[in-house]
Amino acid sequence: MTIDKDAKYDRQLRLWASTGQSNLESSHICLINASSTGCEILKNLILPGIGSFTIIDDKKVSNLDLSSNFFIKNNEINRNLATVTTKNLNELNTEVKGFAIEKSIQDLLIEENDEIFWQQFSVVIISDYTPKLNQLIDILWSKQIPLMIVNTVGFYSSFNLLTSETTVIETHDPSKLYDLRIDLPWEELQQFADSFDLDNLDDQEHAHVPCIIIFIKALQSWIKTHEGQPPWVSYTEKKNFKKYVELLSRNIVLENNFAEAVSSSHRAFQITDLPDSVKQLLKISKENPVTKNSSIFWIYIAALSKFLQLNNDVLPLPGTIPDLASDTKNYIDLQNIYKEKAKKDQKLFTEQVESVLESIGRSKDEINNDSIASFCKNSRLLFVTIGSKKFISSHFIEQFNHEKDQSKIKKYLIYFGILTFNIFINEHNRLPELSDLKEFIQLYNEKIDSTTLAGSDVKVFEELLSHNTRNYTNLNSLMGGVVSQEVLKLCTGQYVPIDNLFVFDGIESSSEKFKIEY
């Protein structure tokens, strides 16, 4: 990256670093319908520098489009929407390549039935529902290309993410827990802990022993004096352990390291085990052995399984430690012990990746040390979800019928209302209005849920029909932000995206997310 680019993208590189940025720069985003929401989404992706985008739309710019879309100029009425928005959006960042296709998606699907065309896209976005999408959904699903469908009607909006599988290595887990192995020190860490003889240190040295060492010592002597019982068995015992640590201090007011140990005693209670999420991944991996076509994520999981067999079911060490009250030397020595162990684990893990690659007939040249390091650092925090392809399911309706929370019920209804809104347009070729309420409800009962709606529930539909526009700038722009954040996560391969439905109520300014299961 050039210096100029580093400076220009500085504020985002602090979120996803150069690895995320280069992923972003190699992505190609497709937008179907150059609506105001769609252009807002692209604006937020072109600015941070996606590689390229393609807009597909055969419509001409209308007064309504101009009224709500900032990326159309006043003299562009009646010109092709895809072409003018592509040109105007491209002005935001000349490093991004923009393409316009002046065709309807239906026509395009007839022409481009060879599926190669779709392969070029990293993510496909449909802004405002378009009928007859099943063929497209099937193609994208089979190619594992995420499809996002966003709708806004008046003050309401919804957004679906349809993708067969999402895997994230760099989750940037917000809990920020460190994997310190205080309960299970490896040889070098144990030796380092043993090198501190707390009773015989002078006051100055005693006040600079890092709390990790204090914990290792305290935990081991506690277990010895408590019939082999660790302190994390109960709340009372945890409290007692805290006191136990405090009593090791010569003067808790003056010894910051001991004060820190007392206030961060939760670190000592962290048990080194395999999290359920990892067990689940290993189970999936066992049931679906890797093949020549497997993604690198699943190759890593297969390698992880081998690694765990060789490493007593203990994950690779991330190797990072928090800042600790300590003098510089003790801290750096301790940090190096963690780093060394992490390197060793990484080496063993790399060997397993090589052996997996070999077993499926793929080249070792695929090995990428940065990517492996990132996997090892995050192996406790990996994210995977099996997506779903449906807009609605009987299971989802059942969930709705059992829901008691009024605020959630409302969000279900907003989503169902938007689906019905689209069905109505499809059948009548016009927007439904308040005078269509009766027919609207009938349509809902026919296509979505036959259960009779309560009076308070009908209000949500009344609201949709009262403010029956897809072009409310504020909601368009808000959803433009929401959807683009999710695209950024998918394209950088970092942070955990939504799974898989988001509903926003712009009256209450509240949201809900759902998963539509089969």
Binding site: R11, F155, P174, D323, Y331, K459, Y472, N474, I507, S511
Partner: protein, 426 residues
């Protein structure tokens, strides 16, 4: 010509959730779009979005204030600016761009290139609504206090809609002065710059940040004295910081000092992307639209958005605090160790989350204890700095803290704790 066909359906019909349905009138709602005067504070990441949204939803009288000029690092999100605009005024370029795109006849935007503190109370009292998209906490406190003061002294209620972002997160809130909680009520919720203890920086550095702060807070002054003030926007200054920090890191075998980190620590950089600005600005403008047109009820009164692990939003009513120094009537309580001098006390309150006053002047009932300005008063009162606070006032006394840069009088009742000895001296 650009018309408002996208706005009509939002106003024409009264929705079922409208709480003022009996008084609602389409024509007057429509008229309010062209008559309302809106002030936008900040023409940066949020400001560009806010201006676009207001313009497209039919508002016609907008003022925008920003003291900043355009920097290369703004271009990843501030979409009204181009490379050729670097160095120019944000508010002026933004206003021009909107006028050009929307059409001069459709909108009147007046930019002001300067500080919000430069404008008079009369200036602020002309607006129907203020939207702030600022990252500076101090400026947000200033406008909040100014508008709350206007509500109590002139009975003029000007709603303030405040937005803020950080990475994938952000929040928007509606403040109705005198009626809802205000910005100052929740000052302690704002994330603050990370600071490191001076003794760590000076004696036991462990992190690359410690080395950078050593260069930044200690070494710069030793090297250049007060003759050359550090400016993070001057590349040579940052280069010096980086090299000095790197040398120190080498001595202590600390890894990880980079130019990017140096810049981040010295400038207290907060990550920012277009997407989050888009969400928060749109939320602010949606509330402004509902509030001014009565088309639907507005947010009561706080929404936070978090996109860094799936998506979470949290909407709630933030309560007024009776001891808020802007909208409350009661003083705050503060506990001070008995050994502390006035100087030490001042250092403490500067960093204290719910106080955060940079240049405090302090008075008690019996008169000024310390005045940071004007210079004559500073000279007279500076002898007090080395005195112990408990020699200057008694337990349970009320003191008032002010700052020339903030229209706030912060009342504190001081209680002394028994710690007589300063642990730092050991």
């Amino acid at each position: 010509m650009r018309d408002h066909s996208s706005v009509i359906p939002l106003l024409k019909t009264i929705g079922p959730f409208n709480e003022v349905a009996d008084d609602y009138n389409y024509q007057s709602a429509w008229d309010r779009l062209s008559t309302s005067k809106i002030l936008v504070i900040g023409a940066g990441g949020l400001g560009c979005e806010i201006l676009k949204n207001l313009a497209l939803t039919g508002f016609k009288n907008i003022h925008v204030i920003d003291m900043d000029t355009i920097d290369l690092s703004n271009l990843n999100r501030q979409f009204l600016f181009r490379h050729k605009d670097i160095g120019k005024s944000k508010s002026e370029i933004a206003a021009n761009f909107i006028k050009q795109r929307i059409g001069e006849d459709n909108i009147n935007i007046i930019p002001f290139f300067g500080k919000i503190q430069d404008k008079s109370i009369e200036f602020y009292s002309q607006f129907d609504l203020v939207i702030s998209g600022l990252d500076s906490i101090e400026a947000r406190r200033w406008i909040n206090a100014t508008l709350v003061n206007l509500s109590s002294s002139n009975n003029k209620i000007i709603p303030l809609i405040d937005g803020g972002t950080e990475g994938f997160r952000g929040q928007s809130r509606v403040i109705i002065p005198s009626f809802t909680s205000c910005f100052e009520c929740t000052l302690d919720l704002m994330s603050q710059k990370i600071t490191y203890p001076v003794c760590t920086i000076a004696n036991t550095p462990r992190l690359p940040e410690h080395c950078i702060e050593w260069a930044h807070l200690i070494q710069w002054n030793i090297e250049f004295g007060s003759t050359k003030k550090f400016d993070a926007d001057i590349p040579q200054h940052i280069q010096w910081m980086y090299e000095t920090a790197l040398n120190r890191a080498k001595i202590f075998k600390i890894e990880g000092v980079t130019k990017q980190l140096t810049l981040g620590v010295c400038k207290n950089i907060i990550p920012a992307i277009a997407s989050t600005n888009s969400i928060i600005a749109a939320s602010c403008c949606n509330e402004a639209f509902k509030l001014l047109t009565d088309s639907n009820p507005y947010l009561n009164n706080y929404m936070s958005y978090s996109g860094d692990y799936s998506i979470y939003t949290y909407t709630f009513e933030n309560n007024k605090r009776s001891n808020c120094s802007v909208c409350g009537s009661l003083p705050k309580k503060i506990y001070v160790e008995s050994y502390k001098t006035l100087q030490q006390f001042i250092e403490d309150i500067k960093d204290k989350q719910e106080i955060q006053i940079k240049n405090p002047s302090i008075s008690s009932i019996s008169g000024p204890l310390y005045m940071s300005s004007p210079t004559e008063l500073q000279k007279i009162t500076k002898n007090n700095l080395s005195k112990k606070l408990n020699k200057l006032i008694s337990n349970g006394d009320e003191i008032v803290i002010t700052d020339v840069n903030l229209p706030i009088s912060l009342r504190l009742i001081v209680y002394f704790t028994s710690d007589e000895k300063d642990p730092e001296l050991n």
